[in-house]
Symmetry: none
Subunit: 141 residues, 4 copies
Amino acid sequence: MEPIAPTGPVTTTVAMDAITAARRRAEALGALVSIAVVDAGGNLKAFLRMDGAEIAGPILAIDKAFTAVATRSATHELAGFTQPGQPLFGLHTGAGGRFVIYGGGVPIVAGSEVVGAVGVSGAADVQHDIECATAGAAVLS
Amino acid sequence: MEPIAPTGPVTTTVAMDAITAARRRAEALGALVSIAVVDAGGNLKAFLRMDGAEIAGPILAIDKAFTAVATRSATHELAGFTQPGQPLFGLHTGAGGRFVIYGGGVPIVAGSEVVGAVGVSGAADVQHDIECATAGAAVLS
Amino acid sequence: MEPIAPTGPVTTTVAMDAITAARRRAEALGALVSIAVVDAGGNLKAFLRMDGAEIAGPILAIDKAFTAVATRSATHELAGFTQPGQPLFGLHTGAGGRFVIYGGGVPIVAGSEVVGAVGVSGAADVQHDIECATAGAAVLS
Amino acid sequence: MEPIAPTGPVTTTVAMDAITAARRRAEALGALVSIAVVDAGGNLKAFLRMDGAEIAGPILAIDKAFTAVATRSATHELAGFTQPGQPLFGLHTGAGGRFVIYGGGVPIVAGSEVVGAVGVSGAADVQHDIECATAGAAVLS
């Protein structure tokens, strides 16, 4: 048999549970969102765009999740460091513009390690994106 | 017969009417603009660059229309949220730099749905771009 | 209430059913794959990378699905037309390199319209990718 | 008054006439296509995607027109020079993948000069794309 790719803590089951948790939170908030789950390598594991959610969602949810795992930070925590005059101003244009510096990307943490991330985009209020992503990322807690 | 692509509310007739409406407004304002119409999927349906309009127009008008339908927002409404210190600062570099956060992209709304958008670029005064796009996007109202 | 994005025939239910059908076929074949579902506009609706599937999967499965809906063709049917000396040689570098001209992208057809597509990537044998995508795309048949 | 952009032979009237001519030919052939017109600078002047035409059309029609004016060649004439082993093999990946080396892009010629081009994409038979683009490009003949 040929060798396969390794699977970390973000298994299919975990990823689908994260999407379900984020989606339930969105439904409770009356928000229509896209939800992306990436693994520790920053590679997409699972994704869902809810019916009626805007088409910016696939782009932004995936990039939020990528940013969260790549920087080991919730994307809303990056905002302060990346404003004009702050230490990391300019980060948002990095990775070909893939780094997102506003809310909606939250790392999935297992023990002492960032093992993946959830990205959520599409709510009219970015706080709702953050809430949904946080609910999804709590899947291993 | 092989299957065809579906056509939503933004038909050829609607798209050409939107361009005509935007163009008439531009002529009334003495502005020279490019006008783009996209459908609900963000794909270009029709475009016109007026004689004498600048060549930034094709890029910006199309990206304004894309941004408006992708985010379900007029692009001038994004400006407030995307300034330094505001909740969505950094949006403008997303989608490979395609997101536009100043005026000239306006969604086309039919009932409760965003079914397309009009993007206008090229006026010396961005308020004129907004006026033209708004006139075009009213095509289904 | 602000207007929402329209939902076509590829609803969340349909997309998840397509992923499940493709995944079951993969399991029956002993293949480890990524599965992407896009709507008629070419925008991602749902995605899953099976445990152990290679990380090229997210890129290729999404681009296969995009190609299938954009060209209204199964991607393996494009292969013949796009070889050196054939009428569409060179297609594979279009759309910023997103067009895929080998198997694994299959349109979802409803009546006379292409309403979405399924893209599958990762099997050691591309015929298995095609079989899985075909199983997924049959979801509306 | 501020200076404006120059307008060459491909005026709004000419561009719309070219689109109309290409569209009529498509209707006569039973083809559903996208039609793009660019000026001598390679910049988009006008565009229309017919109802039911595939969404690869905007990308490919625009790039075919760009290629035709940029190389002063109908894109189907490039095919022979750009096959493996031929003098310009590799052209298709140039301009970030924008160069198209199969049929559907035809220069608009006025006197001794290439003053623009028409690009057509979407027909099931590439010969129909060529026929439509040729009909459109004849607008100044």
